[in-house]
């Protein structure tokens, strides 16, 4: 018994000896280490790292840590012990990124971007950069600058199955433009016995995206921002209108059953297998659908218009962004690599091999039509990271869950509005008295 214990200790010592504790900090000559969470791009990244080595002789090492929740835990833990790698990402809202910047972990790459007349900067979709930028006077008191390099963009739009449209008697080249048309088309599809519309609204943030689109269209950006600031209540008729749209959706019977707790992956499954006529999903869906049903014939259209008073918008912004560790001795090397990564040939390679949207303009002509349509949405996109202020988390959660309740008929639009407003009041009160 005691021998067994000794044996284990001995074995442990042996293993300690054979695996050395590599510490990247301090050794400026080592490879540039990148931590990422994108499993489907692992191979593409490896290929690019090899190409970089061939072209410049410098070594870059990609390390994958998935899934995204686990990735963020690793990044947070490392943040507290200053063992962050040279390049990493921060998956979260602006507030989280601000915290990292404030702790000194992220390098401001704006100087590099503005060099040589802004050569690097001008490549990108302006919206993609905006999402990574902290402007002067931002509410987190971060020194203004660009802190992340987007390597792709995402938009979230409506997707429709052309084959099902035809069968339902709708012109596959004329997807619905207005909300009313959308409901009408949905009903036509439902008559075939197929759900008209599906979306993974078990994932709250997806509800958020659509609701925001509708809100911006109904009342305009300024009023929405005023609501976040607290000067306009959620019980305002315009907001009640937003809620009533979901009420209409719920009562129209065009929704797939169980949408409010359906995870997005299930929704994607249903749409790929032609068990729903329309879906609300993001540009990553192209990759997913092509894997599950390569022959799927589908198209894309932006969120239907409710009124003409304000522009139609779509949720879109930087997809995945990488940050440079400000405390790394290889920071400059890291910046150079990111510059290379976001150049034409590399972006084109990423698009074709992983079917994501590029973050730089000018490659659209080389990408599949469906992806191009998603990319077009960038021009009319909105994204929380580009707004001067966003709603607080508890209120957003209440908002999304209220919509879930409306769809299942548990709350009326008015009740939902009052519920969200009471949550908002609580949050405002807390902000006013921080103790």
């Amino acid at each position: 018994m005691k021998k067994g214990l000794a044996g284990i200790l001995l074995a442990s010592l042996v293993f300690t000896g054979t695996s050395c504790n590599k510490s990247d900090a301090g050794d400026a000559k080592g490879p540039v280490t990148i931590w990422h969470w994108m499993s489907d791009r692992e191979d593409a990244f490896k290929e690019l790292a090899d190409r970089y080595k061939a072209q410049t002789g410098k070594e870059v090492r990609f390390e994958l840590y998935a899934p995204s929740e686990a990735y963020m835990q690793k990044v947070r833990a490392s943040g507290q012990t200053t063992t962050l790698p040279d390049i990493f990402g921060v998956l979260g809202e602006s507030r989280d990124i601000a915290s990292f910047i404030e702790a000194g972990h992220i390098l401001n790459v704006q100087p590099e971007m503005d060099k040589d007349g802004g050569v690097w900067r001008k490549r990108f979709y302006p919206e993609a950069l905006e999402g990574n930028e902290f402007k002067a006077g931002n509410r987190f008191n971060i020194p203004p600058g660009i802190y992340g390099v987007p390597i792709d963009v995402t938009t979230i739009q409506f997707i429709y199955n052309k084959g099902i449209f035809r069968r339902a008697g709708i012109d596959p080249n004329k997807p619905p433009e207005t909300w009313d048309e959308f409901i009408v088309d949905g009903k036509k599809i439902a008559k075939l016995g197929i759900p008209g519309f599906v979306s993974g609204w078990g994932d709250l943030w997806l509800i958020e995206c659509l609701a925001d689109n509708l809100a911006f269209n109904i009342m305009g950006q300024d009023k929405v921002i005023a609501t976040y600031r607290g000067t306009v209540p959620y019980t305002d008729p315009d907001w009640v209108k937003v809620f009533s749209l979901f009420d209409e959706l719920g009562k129209s019977k065009i929704l797939a059953e169980g949408v409010v707790t359906m995870i997005n992956k299930s929704a994607e499954q249903l749409f790929s297998n032609e068990r729903a006529g329309m879906a609300f999903n993001g540009s990553w869906a192209v990759n997913v659908y092509s894997g599950m049903n390569p022959s799927l014939d589908y198209g894309v259209f932006p969120t239907p218009r409710v009124t003409d008073k304000h522009p139609r918008v779509v949720w879109g912004g930087p997809g995945s962004s990488l940050m440079v560790n400000a405390k790394s001795p290889r920071a400059q090397e890291a910046v150079l690599f990111l510059k290379w990564l976001t150049d034409g040939p590399q972006q084109k390679y990423l698009v074709t091999s992983t079917k994501n949207l590029p973050s730089i303009e000018g490659v659209s002509q080389d990408i599949p039509a469906v992806l191009a349509k998603f990319a077009d949405g960038m021009k009319i996109s909105v994204h929380p990271s580009r707004l001067p202020i966003t709603e607080t988390s508890p209120v957003i959660e209440r908002f999304d869950k209220a919509i879930q309740s409306i769809i299942i008929g548990e709350k009326t639009p008015q009740e939902a509005a009052e519920d969200v407003e009471s949550a908002k009041k609580e949050e405002l009160a807390k902000a006013a008295n921080p103790q």
Binding site: G4, S12, F15, S19, P294
Partner: protein, 310 residues
């Protein structure tokens, strides 16, 4: 007199039969026939029940295995019980793409070491809590109990900080030791009642034979607690085998990663490669089933008190 009892050797006159009726053959009364019928009925009922539950347990395993043989397109559309064109190559792909040859061995090492550590340390402590007295006993037990109850959100982060200070990050002991520690509270909690059940006479007999405390623990308590030890072994094996969060935090060298790390490769932020993932999972579930079968053999009828008479 209940129907279940029978006087030794006697066949009761059957109350349902007319007087004077003869039994069918020697010893076989209608009583016995009814009892046999009741027993077979009970038996059929029990078996049906067991089989029904078994089917619900086997179904997901079968589904997982069969899904490994499908393609990404067919995985949710092909409803056949067994695909017409099974893609056996998925297993090979999963093994290579998931770098299983390294991760598998690592997982085996981690699991074995952790089980050994947990069984040894927690059985010592549980025995002490159950059968010995010492200062601070209740406080310490309460402490262990408390850690089982309080979920520590983000507990791995301070642990990570600690491991860095101890220079154990990215090492095997750095991954094994926290997990041994993690299994102790549950191990102690499970083993204590089993140690409490040991008949005092056996302990006294051993003491008379000259055994010290450790002797009693090793020679008397441990063999009697085999079923409980097996349970703790299974729990620990499962926990370590499925662990990946701590591995991700503590280990960065590919050569040290456990099996779950390999499976993560098939799960993207949006895109999941289902057939490969299922193949990987099927492969990784086999050893744990083997471990379970091994341990559950020890959940057998214990040595009886009859050992004392003689």
């Amino acid at each position: 007199m209940s129907i279940n009892t029978i006087e030794k050797g006697k066949a009761r006159p059957d109350p349902l039969l007319p007087e004077g009726f003869q039994p069918l053959r020697e010893g076989l009364t209608y009583e016995r026939i009814r009892r046999r019928a009741r027993n077979s009925f009970k038996s059929i009922l029990s078996h049906s029940f067991l089989i029904l539950v078994s089917i619900t347990c086997l179904f997901p395993l079968w589904w997982m295995f069969v899904s490994s043989l499908k393609t990404q397109q067919g995985i949710f559309t092909d409803m056949s019980f067994f695909p017409a064109h099974p893609e056996w190559s998925n297993f090979v792909t999963a093994w290579t793409k998931g770098h299983f040859e390294t991760y598998f061995v690592n997982s085996v090492i981690y699991t074995t070491c952790t089980i050994a550590g947990v069984l040894f340390i927690s059985s010592l402590a549980a025995y002490a809590f159950a059968r010995l007295q010492f200062y601070g006993k209740n406080v310490l037990y309460f402490m262990f109990l408390a850690t089982l109850m309080i979920p520590v959100p983000g507990q791995f982060i301070p642990l990570y900080v600690l491991l860095i200070k101890m220079r154990l990050v990215n090492t095997m002991p750095g991954y094994i030791l926290p997990q041994v520690n993690g299994g102790l509270a549950l191990g102690i909690f499970i083993l204590k009642p089993f140690f409490e059940r040991i008949p005092k006479d056996l302990e006294d007999a051993a003491r008379i034979d000259g055994c010290g405390k450790f002797g009693i623990w090793w020679n008397v308590a441990m063999p009697l607690a085999k079923p409980a030890l097996a349970v703790v072994g299974i729990f620990t094996a499962l926990a370590v085998w499925n662990e990946y969060l701590l591995a991700m935090l503590v280990l960065s060298d590919r050569s040290l990663m456990p099996l779950q790390r390999g499976l993560m490769v098939f799960q993207g932020a949006h895109l999941t490669q289902y057939p490969l993932l299922m193949a990987g999972m099927t492969i990784s579930v086999v050893p744990i089933i083997v471990v379970y079968l091994f341990f559950q053999k020890h959940i057998i009828k214990g040595v009886t008190a009859g050992a004392l008479k003689g």
